[in-house]
Symmetry: D2
Subunit: 338 residues, 4 copies
């Protein structure tokens, strides 16, 4: 049984709390910290069976009973708290991204080198989705031969608010970062070069805020495969999350999940359900599974499925895409300094 | 090159004429006969490259150049013309059913026994559909093991007129007769017992005319498999033609054909096209293929794919179903005398 | 918060325990009883956070804190414990079937009439499956018009052991009973007549044990619709659970669930995953949902979604099917006395 | 009735001949010309009902009865014969591409300007495929709103011989040229910029011949949409031809066609058929339809569905893609001079 502390009681902190409470039998949450801790959150924490609540996450770091922390606070605090937690001897599950600044990720990497027993995992939840796992398993098992073309479609049902867009780091670091991780996961290697096309087609306000809302990015992978990712901030039919890997012996692709598998045939056609609405619906089981894997890695003293390098690479890819869009040319990953 | 005559220039006669003209290179139509032959039909016949038109089908039977006839006249003339043609030494393709009266089918059988060189084929076109052929091929190849359950769905887009219903012989002999043939084709054997459920759910006028419009019929097959056929005279989404064969090693089933394979995803769901509208759309290629097989059997002196026995059995099954519905009990095929 | 006791710690008792512990926040299990209670089960119960374990279910009935019981014991005890629990003032969730003997179900009904405040629910879990709920919702919303044809496919991946078959009550009461419930759920009414076809095609030992392993049953429903259910004890491709409702305005049907939605295209074809293996995989969420509905009905003082009449009707249908198979004729539900 | 001549009796010349003979009732072929005309081809021409055969296509151009020609000769002769035919007053259906050299296309355009009554159509057959037509119809009808992302997948079952590769003009002008036409068709506008990724992943011999066999090309369209095309010379599962258009109100995409719509479920999964093998299987009906549209345009004196500009643009796009790959940067269409 691993005793954990949760740092951050926002949406994703609550998701992880619920996962651990109901689906991770070998972990127990002792304390949850949030600078905005209030009566409601305290009440919710009690209902989840958590003993302690606090406004100060440092109480968690000081608590010798707590072996691991989940960092679910705002992005700008991820790297700082990561380092403090590592130094305090806690295993760390850190929500993505570790930071938008590669220097700060580098600092976490250095810190981990000095504390080699610490398990560190980054929260790229989509790797734990049953569909993407099945795609990856098929690739890994050689069922499609050597990968040659990788295609990822990732479209949100609706854009976030403009206030969020402004501080998001832009579509490449905020949204496509998940797809950068996914393309590495499916290819089994890093990207070497990125070329980005972008446009403002959903909402002019997003353009005014300095961002784009529609993008097609092509990549070259270390293993020679070519890849393409398309993103839109707004798919009216719901959260569209698909991948396809084509290789020398075949092709594997997934369909979206829906609430049910029914179809209705009538005078208008044969209609099935839309994809599940958004990430909380599509990835709820994946969120539980990633935390379970983290806890298991601590218990079994194995590697976590995604280390700090897996946190770094998608940020490098996102920065390369930004640079590519700005300079209107393909950008090598090696051009991004860290 | 086989020279043929077409007897009957109604809808199905025209279908076969077009098939032979455009898709059966080893046959040529010399003459087309129809008691209602008129200027329009003559014009159409010329446009199809047919030399002769006549009101009297006996001209075809007398013509020594003509080797084969397609009997596309009204059902009540099928057996009579079949026998005349056989006696005249013509190979015969006869539209289904040969007759609703088994004695008349028996007479055709006797006639064929005396003329063993004559090729005789009955027009159960669905066996030549690419989907049902693929289902049958999978069964025959042993891909699903020994058949145990056979399910056939057959629903028309709209009922025929009440005048037609009155002379149709009833749903079992008019509509389900195709499915009785299909279940024999898929099982590879005859039925031994039939139990019929029926109801008037589409149009009370059909009930008033002494028929039903909705039916579920279960069957026992000689090979031990159980089967079920469901029929409706009105499926608002189009012509629904599906089969499923379940066996000891697996299951095979087909989906309907549509005009295209597109899907549109929007706020209402993910919508594909309806099935093709009706038999002329769904089975156009099958109509051509059945005639091609008939011509090939003549040329290559092989058996036709469906002989007179294949014309008889579905009629026996239909009569058994009628009796079952009337007497409200399972009826053995052996109870139907012929 | 409703305090419950679990009677029976076998497979299904454990399923419900886990559901309540992890997915039913408004219920808590105080005690679990099982005549074969042992160290392992006690240890498991502790791990689930259950305070008390006992060999004697009467301890639960006596416990005034316990408001509701889940009867997960062997079928022959369901009706007896139901009545004892009702008399003890406990709300009752009883696994299906209440009994194979309609008199005993009648006794439970009488008992409930005398205790009108008691909530009683029967465990037909499939109604809570996301796919069948969606089919039912479409029918209820009028999306397919008036139901005319209902088709249910229900095939197990492998037959149970012969020892189980012998005491199972036969395929109609043991396996098809779920489909009898489903057809009532989808039609929104009772059946009036049943005709059963059966065969031994999977394993001769099942026939020797006096049962069949393959069946097609047709039904007439009170609303005029015709229905058909097919069952096989062995589908090599997994648990096949499909329903189709056809009506005056369209058709709705569901597909099976799989572990993932991937397809692999290679030289052999385009292959998707098999259906989920069996009921624990397919219906795990449905099991949780049915218990949640039971607990909610107690809390909110509403009707349970399935009352004792819903427990009775499928047994009547099963007995009618048995009689039909034996007497080789259609049997009216009204012929089954109770 | 339009009288036509066929210039070139190779594979595609034979396809068009068969289409006209069997599926285009308002056209008749008088003469077929081929420099390698021989006994076999003459015999085949007779079997198609064609009166004249010749080695010299100029006989066709001189024949006053012939109103239209189909140019099915080798690519290097397309523009020259186009101009000769136009000058001879014949309507022209020219196989794609008109030429790889834009100057020669320009010359055809100039020639057409001087002969405004001549109908000219380029053979981009895929526009006439039932699936792509349905995608385009949905877009045109506004069903997906304003197009934002267009994705085209186009993969051949096997690469052509190296000798062909050497003279093909390269993957962009030989294979992707169809997709360049498709993206214009689906977007309803021209491209403005192209960026090409390419690799040799199928066969090193293709690389040695100076070509690539795998490509991902991204495009910007005049209407603001972004597009991506992926090509592979070898998909082991068959001819993969899919398109997807995503817009402000939804998404439309097509699936491949197969020989049948069956699926087989067994212990290995649920397997459907592979896509149809190659272009002759997938596009046979489309080939007939494009010629039918050409003949109809002549008869009805309307525009052909694809004019000479539709022949030019994909060549410009292919040349831009070539330049992009070579110079490793995005290339504007306006950089390609003509």
């Amino acid at each position: 049984m691993i005793t954990v502390g949760i740092i951050g009681a926002g949406r994703i902190g609550k998701v992880h709390t619920q996962s651990i409470t109901t689906k991770v039998p070998n972990a127990t949450i002792k304390t949850i910290a949030d600078p905005f801790m209030n009566k409601d959150t305290e009440k919710w924490a009690k209902s989840m069976g958590i003993k302690n609540t606090t406004k100060d996450y440092k109480e968690i770091l000081k608590d010798k009973e707590i072996q691991a922390v989940l960092i679910c606070s705002s992005t700008d605090t991820h790297s700082k708290i990561s380092m403090e937690a590592i130094k305090a001897g806690k295993h760390v599950f850190c929500e993505k991204p570790i930071d938008h600044d590669v220097k700060k990720i580098k600092a976490v990497m250095d810190c981990l080198k000095k504390n080699p027993k610490i398990k560190y995992q980054v929260g790229f939840n989509r790797r734990f989705d049953h569909n993407f796992e099945a795609v990856r398993d098929a690739v890994k098992a050689g069922k499609i031969g050597k990968p040659q073309l990788i295609k990822i479609t990732s479209r949100d049902p609706a854009p976030p608010g403009i206030d969020y867009i402004k501080v998001s780091g832009g579509i490449f670091l905020d949204m496509m970062i998940h797809d950068f991780d996914m393309v590495r996961y499916l290819a089994g290697c890093n990207a070497t070069e990125v070329y980005a096309n972008g446009a403002v087609l959903v909402d002019p306000a997003i353009g005014k805020a300095g961002d784009i809302d529609t993008a097609i990015v092509t990549l070259k992978m270390e293993n020679g495969a070519l890849a393409v990712i398309d993103n839109s901030r707004k798919a009216v039919y719901g959260y569209d999350q698909r991948a396809e890997v084509f290789g020398s012996k075949g092709m594997v692709m997934n369909a979206n999940d829906s609430q049910s598998n029914i179809v209705i045939a009538n005078e208008c056609g044969v209609t099935g359900e839309k994809p599940l609405l958004f990430f909380l619906e599509r990835y709820m089981d994946a969120y539980a599974k990633e935390v379970k894997c983290f806890i298991d890695a601590i218990e079994k003293k194995t590697n976590t499925p995604l280390g700090v390098m897996d946190g770094l690479q998608p940020v490098l890819m996102g920065l390369a895409a930004k640079k590519s869009l700005k300079e209107h040319r393909p950008v090598k990953l090696s051009e991004i300094k860290f």
